[in-house]
Symmetry: C2
Subunit: 454 residues, 2 copies
């Protein structure tokens, strides 16, 4: 299912992709180009990224063409020649895509994908490629941090209400699941991606009844197999004692209260007090859920403070990647007509040429270092990370199940040494540049300077 | 056009809305409820918000129903009774919506909208209402600040590549235009919302030619009426001198170079140097565009440093509202069956009851203060801000043109005293609480405490 089909993905682009394409067309610049998508640097406290979004991108590229009404709109702008519009009306993507598979851990400067295609084709895709890949990679990378901070306790996605729109809400559910979340509150995401869906009650539920106790009774009567009570509407400890009454009633029916949820106040202290109330009443199996502007920093702090929380519901701050709502991600022309390409703009280094990343591990399979190389140089050993996704315009990569992607992430996570996985990571994973790539880069910089800075 | 139609908006919800609804149904809780959507507090440096998103919400509510395949999915979860699923299959929204019109400036604690409907209806809409309204309000509020900082210079939206998905990219273009941007780079948004669309070339364009000069020549030949040259690919001042050559060539054809764009380096200094080069060559009308992680803070700093920039292209940081990527926005049950409702959770105050906001102005129409009142109390004078949008399930508000909304925002902005409009606003606009509302709030708190904290 591609929900964006009627949204004309060919127009989901910055205008300049089309004006540049028009000029390339006029100049007959149809030679092969390679564009590279990569993240320049880490946001604060981060030391790795989690690749995601490839499947959605391939869905969009598979059917990429300019519909008649899109051509009509472009014609009405008065900017484009008829010859160019005729060209667009028969446009197809005929290039190749090499990409990191979803769930793969990667690092700054490493290509997430490279597109090799006639110049116009690679250029036209720029905006769409960045939009699709950055968001899902951003969300998966943030979710991975929450899972890490939770130290084996469960984490679920409650983000839909505050994600940046509907598209982002769906992607947050999928991206967080692939990074190890147990599931989501998002019903449509549950349906689209076959995810476990969680949720029981809000404060509005509790307050709509004459008393909290009546609300708890009504809920347990409706969902005796699946009751989690929100206990902080009026007073958390008093709510916990009422939850004990419900747990007793359910036990009398041979059922169990699944859990209670805390959504406000000092969660570390309250969770311990609630745990004591539940344990004291003989309900050590009733689980404690927590929510309320949680993220990896809060989760770490709560666990360090000895919180008795079994499951974290993470919403807004994961759903918008609040501490790093964007990456410094770029899609750069690195080769055209066999010529290595770069710009000299200060602070914006791009590694030239068509590249591959090789990963080296120790004898226990732990990740040790990566090496960024030119595709044209002999393999230095290690595991090549970019895999063929499209060749000559055809998707060559089978669709993977989300479980496969999740397993890949989990294996990568286990193989990443702990210092890089810390919530406040200081160390940078070593990404070496091959001697050939360094040499080509240097040579290209010199050639460009000689030509342009005279 | 509603691009989300096939996305089943009835499932774009947290699961708990449905489980609560199932329990309300089982308990026959069909009385009228009012839910209020409001922002609890300002992000740092902010002192106002700009309402947006109502039109998209009304589009979704107009056709809100549970499709057969959605019911089938819910049945498969095994959580819901047949009676409840039968009820959902005939579900329609029959309630009323009162809302701030789009483009209206508003403040913390003031309802953006209130929904009055049978309890289940108001509850089921919670997630969708928050998702749609928060995002567009977030983006319009951020864009307004960029316009303010630019002090009359133009601002355009370049955000699509890094917005959180496609939905957000479209909404960023619309929301920023209503807040005074000149247009967007987003072609599909241009088409959907009839916005001016901007854009010429990227660094990839310049670097794909053997030399920068050749790239400039090719562009001007293709778009002689509409050339803006990106001049920082190799060296900005050298680029500016090449732009002069292009300007001369165009002038010889009776055309003009529109502008040059700077995207890196010290923009304040470089823009002045580029201005001097252009002026010195007799081209005072060639405009200088700037881009590159700009936002209101950067724009203010650049203008304070005397930058010679005519037009700011604002991308990522506006598109994700980077300094405040979410609002503390809540959708709360405030009345059920005629009974005022609140919760006591610490730090999360909700004003009870069905409310109206009245705005008071001085003799020059400048905004002086707002008053938050109960709908049931007599008007205190001033201008009521919440307007009917739906009544008995029918949209009663005509669709407004974006130009109308833009004019409303512009009028509100002019009427808002300068201290509140500052990029780093310290003062809070006075929102008074009516005596009746204060009294009802206090009485409700006491009643709830007496009932629940015993």
């Amino acid at each position: 299912m591609n929900p964006w089909e009627q949204l004309a993905p060919e127009l989901l682009t910055d205008l300049y992709e089309l004006t540049m394409a028009a000029s390339y067309f006029r100049e007959s610049m149809f030679q092969e180009a390679t564009f590279s998508l990569f993240i320049r640097d880490y946001p604060p406290h981060r030391s790795y990224f989690v690749a995601a979004g490839l499947e959605h991108l391939l869905e969009l590229l598979r059917g990429y063409r300019f519909r008649e009404d899109s051509i009509d709109y472009l014609r009405q702008t008065g900017r484009f020649s008829s010859a160019f519009l005729d060209y667009l009306s028969t446009f197809e993507f005929t290039g190749s895509v090499r990409a990191l598979p979803e769930g793969r851990i990667f690092f700054a400067d490493e290509p997430i994908l490279e597109i090799t295609a006639p110049l116009i084709e690679g250029q036209l895709l720029e905006t769409l490629v960045i939009n699709v890949i950055q968001l899902e990679t951003l969300l998966a990378s943030k979710a991975a941090r929450c899972v890490e901070a939770a130290r084996g306790r469960g984490v679920i996605d409650f983000g839909l209400r505050r994600t940046h729109g509907i598209d982002a809400g769906l992607k947050a559910a999928r991206a967080s699941y692939l990074a190890g979340f147990l599931g989501t509150s998002n019903v449509l995401a549950g349906r689209l991606y076959s995810l476990p869906v969680f949720g029981t009650m809000a404060h509005s539920y509790v307050t709509s009844f004459p008393t909290e106790m009546e609300s708890f009774n009504a809920y347990a009567a409706c969902f005796p197999e699946n009751t989690v009570l929100l206990i902080d509407t009026y007073d958390t400890l008093s709510g916990a004692r009422k939850a004990v009454a419900i747990a007793r009633r359910l036990a009398a029916q041979g059922k169990s209260l699944i859990g209670v949820r805390l959504d406000s106040g000092d969660l570390a202290t309250l969770s311990r007090e609630v745990r004591a109330i539940l344990d004291g009443a003989g309900f050590p199996d009733v689980r404690i859920f927590a929510s309320g502007t949680l993220d990896e920093y809060q989760i770490e702090k709560l666990l360090e403070a000895g919180a008795a929380i079994d499951l974290f519901a993470v919403g807004t701050r994961m759903g918008v990647s609040a501490d790093a709502p964007y990456f410094d991600i770029a899609y750069k022309l690195v080769e055209y007509g066999g010529r290595p390409i770069l710009k000299l703009s200060p602070g914006k280094k791009t590694w030239v040429g068509k590249k591959q990343v090789y990963r080296f591990r120790d004898k226990d399979r732990a990740m040790v270092r990566d090496e960024l190389c030119l595709v044209s140089e002999p393999s230095p050993g290690g595991e090549p990370l970019l895999e063929p996704a499209m060749e000559k315009g055809v998707v060559v990569r089978p669709v993977e199940s989300l479980e496969t992607i999740r397993a890949r992430f989990n294996a990568d996570r286990s193989a990443l040494p702990l210092p890089y996985r810390a919530v406040r990571a200081g160390e940078r994973y070593p990404v070496q540049i091959s001697a050939s790539l360094e040499a080509l880069e240097e040579e290209t910089v010199k050639a460009v300077m000689a030509k342009e800075l005279v």
